[in-house]
Amino acid sequence: MTSEAWTAAESGAAADRRTQDQVERTLSSLGAWRTSETIFWCALPAIWFFLPDWNPLLNQIAIIGLFVLSLDLIMGYSGIISLGHAAFFGFGAYVAGLLTKYGIPDPLLGLLITAVAAALLGFISSFFVLRGSDLTRIMVTISVALILGEIANRMVWLTGGADGLNGIAPSPILGMFEFDLFGKVGAAYSLIVLFVLFLLARKLMGSPFGWTLRALKMNPVRAGAIGIPVNARLVTIYTIAAAYAGVAGALLAQTTQFVSLDVLGFQRSADAMLMLVIGGAGTLYGALVGAAVFMVFQDQLAGITPVFWEFWVGLLLVAFVLVGSDRIGRLPQIIGGWTASRIRRLRKAAGKTGKTGKTGLSR
C-alpha cells in the first residue's frame, strides 16, 4: 500500500470517529436532564404532601398517566395506531385483582407478575399488529380489546362480569405501608411506580433503540433499508408498552381495590388517545401532562354537565385535528412570540409618537 492510500484510509477512519463522537455528543445532549424536569418531578410529591384532599385524583392521574405513557411508546414513537390499548390495561387490572384475591396479596410481587403476563399478551398480539395497513392495525387492536372484554363479561364466576371484581385486599407494601381509605399510600405508591417506569422509558427512548423507533415511524421502508430490523423493533416496543399498560391497570386494581368491565372499554382507549394528543405525542411528558389536564377537567366539568362531557371531548378532538395538534402544542411559544413582537412594535411606535405624534396602536 502506498503512503497516500495510508493517509487517505487513516483520515477516513478519523472522519468516521469524528462523526461517531459528534453523534454521541448530540444524543447525550438531547438526553440531558433539564431543570424543568426536576421541577416537574418535585411538584408531584409537593401536591401529594400539601394537598392531601387531592390524593385520590393524583392517584388516578398517575395511573392514567402511566397508561397514556405506554400508548405514547407505540403511537407517538413508533407510529402504530392503536384503538384497543385498553386491552392491556384491563388485562393487567384483572390479573392483579385476581392475584390479590386468590393467594398473592403482596402488591409489588403482584405488579411484577402482572407486568410479565401483560408483556406476554402484548408479545403474542404484536404479531397480529405487524400485518397489514393502518386500517388493519386499528381493527386488530380493537378486536383484541373486544375479545378480552367479551371474555371478562362472560366468565362471571371468575371476573364478576358486569358487577365487577370485588374483594381485592392487597397486603401492606413491603409489609410496612398499608393502603388507607384516603388514598395517601395509594397515591404515593402509584407516583413512585410511575417515576421509576418513566425514568426507564426515558432512558430507552434516548438510546439508539429509541432513535431507530423514531426512524421507522417516519419511513419504515427506508429504515429497513439502512439496516434497522423493523419488525423486531415493533414487536419489542409493543411488548414493552403492553407491560407498562398492564402495570397501570394493576395499580388501579390494587389502589382502588375494585375492577369493573370498563377497564377494557373502547372509551378508555379513545380517551387515552385524546390525552396523548392534548399533551403532545412522542414526548413522554406530553402523556403525563395530557392525562393530568384531562383528568382535572373531567373531575371539575363532568360533575356539572355529565352528558355534555362527551360532547366537549369530541369537539376537542375535532378541533385538534383541524387546527393541527403541533400548532396547539406550540401555543405558548406562539403567544409569547406574538406578544414580544407586539411589544417591540408598540415601543417602536411609541418612539415614533414622540416625533410625529401618531397613536401608539395604529399600524
Binding site: D134, L146, E150
Partner: protein, 284 residues
C-alpha cells in the same frame, strides 16, 4: 333453521347497506371515517321524528331520509372532512372519533339514553309461511330494498359514466384529474351517496339493530368488519362479507348464546391476520 338463515340474510343485507358507504370512502378515498355509524344513527332518529311525531308514512319517509342524510353528508364533507383528506390516518381516526362522541352526546342530550322505536305500519308486522319458512314482512322488505340497492350500486359503478369516473379517480387520481375528471366533485357525490345509504339503513334497521345513542360505537366494529373482510373498491366483496357476517352472527347468537359476540370477533381477527387485504380483494 331456514328461519335463522332468512333472519341472518336480512341482518346481513342491513349491514351491507350501512357499511357499503364506508367501503367507498375508505377504499376509494383512503379516508378512515369511524363516524360513518353516526350517519346511520342520524337516519334512524330522523325516521323516529318523521314517522312518530309528524305522522309521515313509513314508506314515504325512507326516500326522504336518504336525501336528508345524503345532504348532511355532502355538507359535512365540504365543511369538515375536506380538511382531513390529506392528513395522516392518525389524524383521521381522532377526527372521526371526535365526531362520533359529539353525535352521541347530542343525541342523548336531545332524545335521551333510552332505546327508541319507529312505529311500523301494521302491514309490516305480519308473518307468513313460505316453503316452511317463517317470514316476517318487515325482514322481507329489508331484503328487497337492500338487494335492489346492491344491484343498483353495482350497475352504477360498472355501467354508468359516473361509475367509471369514480373508478378512474380511485385508480389514479392525478391522471384522472389530468383527463378533466372533477375528482373532488365525484368524491363529494360518492360520500353523499354513502351517507345517504347509511341513513337509509339506520331508518330501515332501527327495529332490528336497536336505536339508542350508543349506536355508532356499537356498530362501528361491524361496519369495519364488513369493509376489512370484504376488501375495498368493489360492491360484491362487502356484499358477500356482510351476508356471511349477518348469518354467522344470528346463527351464533341462536345456537351458542353463551359465546355472544365472541365468535364474530375471533373470526374477524383470524381473517385479518391471514388475509390482511380482505377475503375478496384483488391482488395489487
Amino acid at each position: 333453521m331456514m328461519t335463522i338463515l332468512f333472519d341472518g340474510i336480512a341482518y346481513g343485507m342491513l349491514l351491507f347497506l350501512l357499511g357499503c358507504g364506508l367501503s367507498v370512502t375508505l377504499g376509494l378515498m383512503n379516508l378512515i371515517n369511524l363516524a360513518h355509524g353516526s350517519f346511520a344513527m342520524g337516519g334512524g332518529y330522523l325516521a323516529v321524528i318523521a314517522v312518530n311525531r309528524w305522522g309521515v308514512p313509513f314508506f314515504v319517509s325512507l326516500p326522504l331520509i336518504f336525501v336528508a342524510t345524503a345532504a348532511l353528508g355532502a355538507l359535512l364533507d365540504r365543511t369538515l372532512y375536506v380538511h382531513v383528506y390529506e392528513k395522516s390516518h392518525f389524524d383521521q381516526v381522532m377526527f372521526s372519533i371526535g365526531l362520533v362522541f359529539m353525535s352521541v352526546a347530542l343525541v342523548s342530550y336531545f332524545a335521551g339514553h333510552e332505546q327508541v322505536f319507529v312505529d311500523l305500519p301494521a302491514s309490516l308486522r305480519e308473518r307468513f309461511d313460505l316453503f316452511g319458512m317463517q317470514i316476517g314482512a318487515y325482514r322481507l322488505l329489508i331484503i328487497l330494498v337492500c338487494g335492489a340497492m346492491a344491484v343498483a350500486l353495482h350497475m352504477m359503478l360498472k355501467k354508468t359514466r359516473f361509475g367509471s369516473q369514480l373508478r378512474a379517480s380511485v385508480d389514479d387520481r392525478r391522471v384522472a384529474e389530468g383527463l378533466g375528471i372533477r375528482v373532488r366533485l365525484i368524491f363529494v357525490v360518492a360520500f353523499a351517496i354513502g351517507s345517504g345509504l347509511a341513513g337509509l339503513g339506520g331508518a330501515l334497521g332501527a327495529e332490528i339493530l336497536g336505536l339508542d345513542p350508543s349506536f355508532p360505537l356499537k356498530y362501528m366494529v361491524y361496519f369495519l368488519i364488513v369493509v376489512a373482510v370484504g376488501g375495498t373498491g368493489t360492491i360484491t366483496g362487502p356484499f358477500v362479507a356482510s351476508l356471511l357476517l349477518g348469518v354467522a352472527d344470528v346463527a351464533g347468537k341462536y345456537y351458542v348464546p353463551a359465546a355472544g359476540a365472541f365468535i364474530i370477533y375471533v373470526v374477524m381477527l383470524l381473517t385479518l391476520v391471514l388475509r390482511p387485504q380482505g377475503l375478496f380483494a384483488r391482488a395489487r
